[in-house]
């Protein structure tokens, strides 16, 4: 990959993060929403052992729902004032655009996951263990990369015109199944939920990595076509 393309991707990522720092939508809206989802799960499932056992899955469900909002937000700033067209007219390569948007989304999701993991510890009684920290971090990073790539592909499509936002959950949720399954099992192994050994989590990290690479590469190739209208 050329240095110019990487430089453009980095600038787009920095631009997105700067917009986020100034508007604080993630902090003021998405984070409270995801926290609320975690609380609402407790209402639905009741307190006691169920929450502790289901904590990893519930946390990743909250991440998935929040990803949908974050992706919408990420592309709403591009469609407003025709920013996406301006970027394309400026000659920004679609691959750089894809990588930049996905990288910014990944940074935002990592921040979100860190907070939600803390909430899972506080609200659901999930206890991290020292030997599972590396697995926990690797799972979170690989799952985030996959989600960010997936969100960017379909976010680009949904940003193409009015009324397309409702398509986003329909397109993302079925194909996000590997992330939800893999990340949940990975975090379960890291936390030792149901006496799972740490070693049982690594195959799931493998799955998450393959998913991130496959979706990332196909997304980089497809993004130009998806945003062209």
């Amino acid at each position: 990959m050329s240095a110019g393309r990487l430089r453009a991707a980095r600038r787009i990522a920095v631009k997105d993060l700067l917009v986020e720092r100034r508007s604080r939508v993630l902090v003021n809206q998405v984070l409270p929403f995801s926290g609320l989802v975690m609380v609402v799960f407790a209402f639905a499932l009741g307190t006691g052992g169920v929450l502790e056992r289901a904590a990893p899955g519930l946390m990743w469900l909250a991440v998935l729902f929040s990803t949908l909002i974050t992706v919408q937000r990420s592309f709403a700033i591009e469609t407003a004032d025709g920013a996406l067209e301006s970027l394309r007219v400026a000659g920004i390569d679609p691959v750089a655009l894809f990588l930049g948007k996905a990288a910014a989304l990944a940074v935002e999701l990592i921040a979100l996951i860190t907070v939600l993991l803390g909430l899972a510890v506080v609200l659901y009684g999930a206890e991290p263990r020292a030997e599972g920290v590396v697995l926990l971090v690797t799972t979170a990073i690989s799952a985030t990369c996959g989600l960010a790539a997936l969100g960017t592909i379909y976010g680009g499509l949904a940003a193409g015109g009015p009324g397309r936002e409702t398509l986003l959950p329909l397109l993302i949720l079925p194909v996000a199944a590997p992330v939800l399954i893999g990340a949940t099992r990975g975090v379960e192994a890291a936390l030792g939920t149901d006496r799972t050994a740490v070693s049982e989590g690594w195959p799931w990290v493998g799955l998450l990595t393959v998913f991130a690479v496959a979706v990332g590469v196909s997304g980089a190739l497809a993004f130009g076509t998806l945003i062209e209208d």
């Binding site: 193409g160 398509l167 329909l170 949720l173 079925p174 194909v175 590997p178 998913f211 998806l226 062209e228």
Partner: protein
């Protein structure tokens, strides 16, 4: 709605030809044949009783749905990477996906009824069922993308990309769900050691079902592809007509403007 200004009459543009009519009749005969063998001539199963007859619809519909999605993927690729970017491939891809979604729904319904009788529950969270359900929703998404506004070329490019992305994503979904859990009975006929342990007449009925439903797929695909082509034709004629009307308006108002 009929474009009366069009120089060509549209009444003759039906979707049927002699070939499709012959195919339709053969399909009907095969479906009748399947009913005869499936409901009357084939024996009831020792364990499952008459419930096994659901198999003669369930297996062909799932085969057909997968065939339809493969056709969609191949035609998406042919459209996107073909030299001429022929819209014909896009129409076949769209028509095939629609048929695939309908037959996947029938598969899920017949499968859950069969499951209720044999397993005691409508739904089992096993790998094949879960992947099938996710595949179904994925192609509903594909059809939703096809329904987005834009020119035919944009629709074709966009949906071809989504159709090909599904090819990358579906194996990953299947792999993850299979790792998650697998309870489904192994494929009886397509066993790797080719040791077919199914009654001869039941097997024959099953193959009759596969042939009948494959013919039905081809028949539906031909008609639906032609309907989409006619829809496109109607849309472009409608546009031509609107442009012609607007031009005539401009010409008449222009002459008034010029006179004042």
């Amino acid at each position: 709605m009929t474009p009366t200004t069009s120089p060509q009459p549209t009444a003759r543009r039906a979707t049927g030809t002699r070939a499709t009519r012959v195919l339709g009749i053969v399909t009907l005969v095969m479906l009748g044949w399947l009913l005869l063998f499936g409901l009357v001539l084939s024996p009831a199963d020792i364990d499952q009783g008459d419930a096994v007859r659901i198999m003669y619809v369930h297996v062909p519909t799932v085969w057909l749905a997968y065939l339809a999605f493969i056709v969609t993927a191949v035609c998406s690729g042919l459209y996107l990477f073909g030299r001429r970017h022929s819209l014909g491939f896009d129409r076949v891809a769209g028509a095939s996906a629609e048929i695939g979604v309908v037959f996947m729904a029938l598969t899920l319904i017949s499968g859950s009824l069969w499951g209720r009788i044999t397993w005691g529950v409508y739904w089992q969270w096993d790998a094949r069922l879960t992947t099938t359900a996710l595949l179904f929703v994925t192609y509903i998404g594909y059809l939703a993308v096809r329904g987005l506004e834009g020119t035919r070329e944009r629709r074709a490019r966009r949906s071809a990309v989504i159709g090909l992305l599904a090819v990358v994503e579906i194996p990953l979904v299947h792999w993850s769900v299979r790792l998650w859990r697998s309870l489904h009975q192994e494929a009886t006929i397509l066993d790797t050691d080719l040791d077919v342990d199914i009654d001869g007449l039941m097997l024959f009925t099953l193959f009759s079902g596969v042939v009948a439903f494959t013919l039905l797929f081809v028949w539906l695909l031909l008609h639906r592809t032609r309907t989409i082509a006619l829809d496109d034709l109607l849309a472009s004629r409608g546009l031509d007509r609107a442009i012609a009307e607007r031009r005539s308006e401009v010409t008449s108002s222009g002459s008034i403007g010029g006179g004042s």
